[in-house]
């Protein structure tokens, strides 16, 4: 059953193309599928299971052997399998959407730059958003070609967010960086290994340019090991099923997912949907930056057009086109069919239009470190646009930020420099049948927090509190989720704080009459005074006597506050999550403040 020799017909859909005209291509693969020999749905399911298993195994291997806290505790990494033409075939279950965009981006450049020069044992490395398909520099991409019977059949890829990649500020994520050069070391698609041999010169060059190089070295090798593990497993799978059927199965997986995505799109009523929101600021003086979307749905075709969105900005909240694509596809998948497999077929079913040089399709030398904040806004506007068409699955605006906090300094105990990076979750929007989640990573990111005991063990820092922010969830029939607060102070030394925050001015909106959530903020708290910091502060000194308070935004509610049930209002009160004043203001029919004495 397994050994069927099927002749592979290369399909035209094999190219990685962000701007894919969904309707046009559907016919060709169907014809190909009909002619195919017996790669039946059962074999496809079993091999698909094997592919996901390989992606998951490498995901865990990378997590467990890495050194960056981001990777080992927060799981800010992804693994995936691409075919020889660079199409995404399978990914680890816990992979992050924006990472997947980077991997497909890498494949496009890798194949263009190295056609005919890809050898067994090569390992490619890259991170640059403008010439190597990346989405920001700290995400280090690696890919190993997989050969079976001397034929290039696939790539095993992984990507990990390193705690530092050099540049102006520790952590390489701070606001206030005005061009890509300031954000860290740019790596085009190059070979870290050639035919199994380490190109030591390259590694030396990279390590010289990043902070805490001995730890980073461990991260690079954890990625290399994950590549090789995946390569070994893929070869085993190709041995078992043979190249012909395997490649046919790759085609089938992509084709079926695309059909499935198109069927999901068909459930959206035909029409044009628009929405507009703004980013607060770029950290370098540009404020209220428009993000605009027009969505056209016609049958199984969808066109998501960002016309009217701002030009790219000086500050580092720009996104590359593939990051935008990741955010759009994430949103459509979540709204329409959360269980749809993540592969090229899903990406190809969506036509994306964004003019080069805009905020959502930025080009060299745009800085992009904090692109996740803009991706979150892209999710919000797509949800906002489709809310009227999909009222049961639409949600209020989430905290809309990838609230990033980086503490750096010299550990007085060891004399060594340290970098502690964290991204905080916040509120998730109110939903059609329940409140939004409090204090959680939303949408395109789902990274864990670092345990307080890990922070205090590894860094000379003390966490004074970690809590939900009172009154931060927008009121509504179903309220928005609450933001998070962390208060941190350096012990026995002065440290530097860098951060990035969004929705510090423009509150996360509610839908269908729901109220907005609270804004987020960074506060420097001294013994006698408090200072509100900029939303994208860089190089702030926190002295030994001071502490830094981070508050992430809440989220918008769903439906009119007047429709909220007495039971839920009582829960808001008795849990202490909302103050009497807030409740009286928002639910006056149910809660009155006691008269001032």
């Amino acid at each position: 059953m397994k050994r069927t020799k099927a002749s592979l017909r290369k399909k035209s859909a094999g190219k990685v193309k962000v701007k894919a005209a969904a309707g046009k291509k559907a016919a060709a693969p169907k014809a190909a599928a009909k002619k195919a020999a017996s790669v039946d749905p059962i074999t496809i399911e079993i091999v698909g299971n094997g592919l996901r298993s390989i992606a998951d195994e490498t995901f865990i291997a990378l997590m467990k052997s890495a050194y960056s806290t981001n990777i080992k505790e927060r799981k800010d990494h992804s693994t995936a399998i691409c075919d020889a033409s660079g199409r995404l075939i399978a990914q680890a279950e816990a992979s992050l959407p924006v990472h997947i965009a980077s991997m497909t981006g890498l494949m496009k450049h890798l194949l263009a730059d190295y056609a005919g020069k890809i050898n067994k044992g090569d390992i490619f490395i890259a991170n640059d958003p403008h010439v190597a398909g990346g989405t920001h520099l700290p995400d280090i991409n690696m890919a190993i070609p997989v050969f079976h019977e001397d034929k290039l059949v696939a790539f095993m890829c992984n990507i990990a967010h390193h705690a530092d990649v050099g540049g102006m500020f520790p952590g390489s994520m701070a606001g206030g960086m005005a061009e890509i050069y300031q954000e860290g070391l740019r790596v085009p698609v190059i070979k870290l290994f050639s035919k199994g041999e380490l190109n030591d010169d390259i590694l030396k060059l990279i390590l010289l340019n990043v902070r805490v190089p001995q730890e980073r070295r461990g991260d690079y090798f954890a990625q290399v090991a994950a590549c090789r593990l995946g390569e070994r497993r893929l070869v085993e799978l190709f041995e078992a099923y043979q190249t012909g059927p395997m490649l046919k199965i790759f085609d089938e997986i992509v084709h079926r997912t695309r059909k499935r995505m198109q069927a999901a799109i068909e459930r959206i009523p035909d029409g044009t949907y628009t929405f507009e929101d703004v980013m607060d600021d770029d950290g370098l003086g540009t404020t209220n930056i428009p993000v605009k979307v027009h969505i056209e749905v016609r049958g199984s075709a969808i066109k998501v057009d960002f016309k009217g969105t701002a030009r790219q900005v000086k500050g580092n909240i720009n996104t590359t086109l593939n990051a935008t694509q990741a955010a759009v596809c994430y949103t459509l998948k979540s709204l329409l069919d959360p269980e749809i497999p993540n592969n090229q077929g899903m990406l190809d079913a969506v036509e994306l239009v964004a003019e080069s040089g805009t905020l959502v399709s930025s080009v060299f030398p745009a800085p992009v470190a904090a692109r996740a904040n803009t991706c979150q806004r892209i999710v919000d506007v797509v949800v906002g646009a489709l809310a009227s068409a999909l009222p049961l699955v639409a949600v209020g605006a989430a905290n809309g930020a990838n609230t990033t906090a980086v503490f750096a300094g010299i550990d007085p105990r060891s004399g060594q420099s340290y970098v502690y990076l964290e991204t905080l979750g916040g509120g998730f929007g109110g939903r059609a049948s329940k409140d939004g989640t409090d204090g959680v990573q939303v949408h395109i990111t789902n990274t864990s927090n670092l345990p307080v005991e890990a922070i205090e063990t590894e860094y000379p820092l003390l966490v004074e509190s970690y809590s939900l922010v009172e009154d931060s969830g927008g009121a509504g029939k179903f309220r928005g989720g609450m933001g998070l607060r962390r208060v941190i102070r350096p012990i026995g030394h002065d440290c530097t704080f860098n951060g990035a925050l969004e929705r510090a001015v423009n509150r996360p909106w509610g839908i269908f009459g729901g109220g907005p959530g609270a804004v987020g903020r960074f506060m420097l708290i001294g013994p006698s005074d408090e200072t509100l910091l900029a939303a994208k502060p860089s190089g702030v000194t926190v002295t030994a006597g001071e502490k830094l308070m981070i508050e992430s935004p809440g989220a918008g509610g769903y439906g009119n506050a007047s429709e909220r049930s007495a039971e839920l209002v009582e829960q808001d009160r008795s849990s202490g999550k909302f103050s009497a004043t807030f409740l009286a203001q928002n639910y006056p029919a149910m809660v009155q403040l006691p008269k001032a004495s």
Partner: protein, 685 residues
């Protein structure tokens, strides 16, 4: 006469395995479970067992019990009311957890709501940080206020969850002391339940423990009272998730340790069987109606994991490393939106069950596929009271076959292939993902449906040998008899593993040995039964995940000499290479936890009486066509396993029916009945 009794409480039946130590007689007994109070089926069943086999209850020396009370209380959220006392500034920590969503792409799925709601989580001013260093002593006023709040809230249990208590438990103990004055309140200190690094997981474990305390207390008290009256000589051992028995008192204090008691007992039963058949390295797959549990046994020891979710909450405790997947006899076959056939995790369960049960099931299940391919007998299991309706199976399989453009049998084979692939994926998680090559293992299937699927699973993993235990359906109860008494102790301490560090480890080990000695004494364990095993959780400095490195073990309850730093390092490098495929010769390594396991062999089951042997071919009881591949049916002999004698051999195809299970022997595979009456199957190349 001295009888040992193992009792395993399942969803439908409570199984008894009784063993007489002098004559080595075995008695098996089943009685319907009593889910409302599982202890009554145990107590009543025990009396019925005695009556049936003429055993004097006073001759029962030990009752070993695997319990699902804790598991069910968690799944059904029927635990006690819980309050929490925590460090000031961290009241929300238990609710925030790791700030993640359970499903990246779902706007609707949430983590489960905390078992202690926010208005029952109280803060006290105190603080310990890394070092450990007390930077703020307990503020007595805030403590008194918190105790008063706990009292006012009227809860049954309280968890004490303070930061860095894994390094210094003095603050938690002080709070515990103050709480002990509250009448009728159960108290769980995170530093006692499991004193380990990472606050959320530690707190969560403590809260689960507190949540289970009231339920478990009532259950164990009832059981203890009944057994004291009915079988006054019997000592009771409660099976814990890490393998091994604990006393009723320990179970009362730490009920969370029983959260995976049932499946863990199966793994120990498998260890027992693998010993009898001299198969040290075994992968087990326990297939029931809704799910399959898989575990890996290496050198007769079940793998242990320290971090897993139970009912949606993280539990940080040593537990037999069991991976569960929603693949069982009742798993339903369905088409996904991309036209691919899937099987499970939704299950038809026992009611309505598969279509062939004729209880109104309308979905095609794995059992229907087994019936339609001739692998299961339409007469049902031997001794079973329920015939199976093959036409009903064919009727529900027909639409699937039509959609695939397959024959019904080929569609059924596809369903079996997919459900096997799901189990294979689970096995990969506990084998290849932990650095073990399954090809070096023997597959041990059990549970009613395990031996039906073993061959497909083994072939996909490159396994060449299968061992089907004598009674696959009661392996858990049998495992309970074979279990040791056991307790696990841990000390979290971060230090470099060099010669200086090893000196400190000696001190730590000596310290933890004091606890172990206390435990041996409290359980009245004789010196010759005592056994100590010491292992170290080690990692490279800068990594966050540790690997367990076995340090030393030995008998007699005394700590043997701990190897030198160089030797520990060598072992760590080997394990790191095994798990991750690489290691650094030069990077420094450090200790994170020191774990000591104290155990006591209480039953010697070696040298079980020799079974009758024969070299004659067994005689089939029937023949029928069976589908092993899509090529077509094969005329296949059917055997009754009860007639098998040690030494007998058959070459497949064959179907072997028995009281509680069916074994499928594929064409050309060779089956031998071994001296323990286990079926040893060699797969053809």
């Amino acid at each position: 006469m001295t009888w040992l009794v193992g009792v395993d409480v399942g969803g439908t039946f409570t199984d008894f395995f009784a063993y007489e130590t002098g004559s080595r007689q075995v008695r098996l007994f089943k009685t319907p479970s009593t889910p409302k109070n599982p202890a009554s089926a145990i107590a009543d069943g025990l009396l019925a067992l005695c009556k049936e086999f003429d055993i004097s209850p006073s001759d029962i020396e030990r009752v070993s019990h695997g319990t699902t009370v804790a598991t069910n209380a968690l799944i059904q959220r029927r635990g006690g009311t819980v309050a929490v006392i925590t460090t000031k500034g961290f009241r929300d920590l238990l609710e925030i957890g790791r700030q993640t969503r359970p499903h990246l792409y779902s706007f609707q799925q949430d983590q489960p709501a905390p078992l202690a709601p926010r208005n029952r989580r109280f803060e006290i001013a105190e603080r310990i940080t890394a070092g450990p260093a007390i930077i703020e002593p307990i503020d007595q006023a805030s403590l008194e206020k918190a105790i008063e709040d706990v009292k006012q809230s009227g809860v049954e249990a309280c968890a004490v969850c303070l930061l860095f208590s894994f390094l210094d438990g003095s603050h938690e103990r002080a709070v515990g002391e103050a709480l002990s004055k509250v009448d009728g309140l159960s108290v769980s200190l995170s530093s006692e339940v499991q004193p380990e690094f990472r606050e959320y997981e530690r707190f969560s474990t403590a809260v689960l423990n507190a949540y289970l305390q009231p339920v478990m207390h009532r259950y164990l008290t009832f059981l203890e009272d009944r057994l004291r009256a009915d079988a006054p000589g019997a000592k009771v051992g409660i099976y814990q998730s890490s393998g091994g028995l604990m006393s009723i008192d320990t179970a009362r204090k730490f009920p969370v340790r029983t959260a995976l008691s049932g499946p863990a007992a199966g793994a120990v039963g498998a260890v027992y069987m693998s010993r009898l058949s001299s198969e040290p390295d075994v992968i087990t797959v326990d297939v029931g109606g809704t799910s399959a549990d898989v575990a890996l046994i290496r050198n007769y020891e079940a793998g242990i994991s320290f971090n897993r979710d139970v009912a949606g909450f993280p539990v940080r405790l040593p537990m037999v490393d069991i991976h569960t997947v929603g693949a069982g006899g009742g798993s339903i076959a369905w088409f996904d939106r991309d036209g691919l056939l899937k099987v499970g995790p939704t299950s038809a369960g026992a009611d309505p069950g598969p279509a062939c049960y004729r209880r109104g099931g309308t979905n095609a299940t794995v059992t229907d596929a087994n019936l339609a391919t001739g692998r299961l007998s339409a007469k049902g299991l031997i001794g079973g009271r329920m015939p199976l309706d093959i036409e009903a199976s064919r009727n529900v399989l027909a639409p699937i076959a039509e959609k695939l453009n397959f024959s019904i049998e080929r569609a059924a084979l596809g369903i079996l292939d997919i459900v096997s692939a799901n189990m294979v994926r689970a096995i990969r998680t506990i084998s290849v993902e932990r650095g073990h090559d399954p090809r070096n293992y023997c597959l041990l299937p059990f549970g009613g449906a395990g031996p039906l699927h073993a061959t497909e699973i083994a072939r996909s993993l490159g396994i060449s040998k299968i061992l089907v235990p004598a009674a696959p359906g009661i392996l858990c109860a049998q495992g309970l008899i074979a279990s040791d008494m056991k307790d696990d102790f841990v000390r979290s301490a971060r230090m470099r593993l060099d010669d200086a560090g090893m000196a400190t480890i000696g001190d730590l080990a000596a310290d933890v040995m004091i606890d172990a000695a206390k435990w041996f004494d409290s359980e009245s364990i004789e010196p010759h039964q005592r056994r100590i095993s010491l292992s170290l959780d080690v990692r490279y400095v800068g990594q966050n995940f540790e690997l367990p490195v076995h340090a030393v073990s030995g008998p007699g309850g005394k700590l043997p000499v701990i190897p030198k730093a160089k030797e520990i390092r060598r072992r760590f490098l080997d394990i790191h290479t095994q798990f991750y495929g690489f290691c650094s010769e030069t990077d420094p390594i450090e200790l994170v936890n020191l774990r000591l396991t104290a155990s006591a062999k209480i039953t010697d089951l070696t040298g079980t009486s020799k079974a009758k042997t024969s070299t004659q071919k067994p005689k089939p009881i029937a023949r029928r066509p069976v589908w092993f591949s899509a090529d077509g049916p094969v005329d296949t002999p059917i055997y009754d396993r009860a007639t098998f004698l040690a030494g007998q051999k058959i070459v497949g195809p064959a179907i072997i029916d028995q009281f509680d299970s069916t074994t499928v022997l594929h064409p050309r595979d060779v089956l031998t009945v071994d001296s323990a009456l286990n079926l040893s199957i060699r797969l053809s190349k």
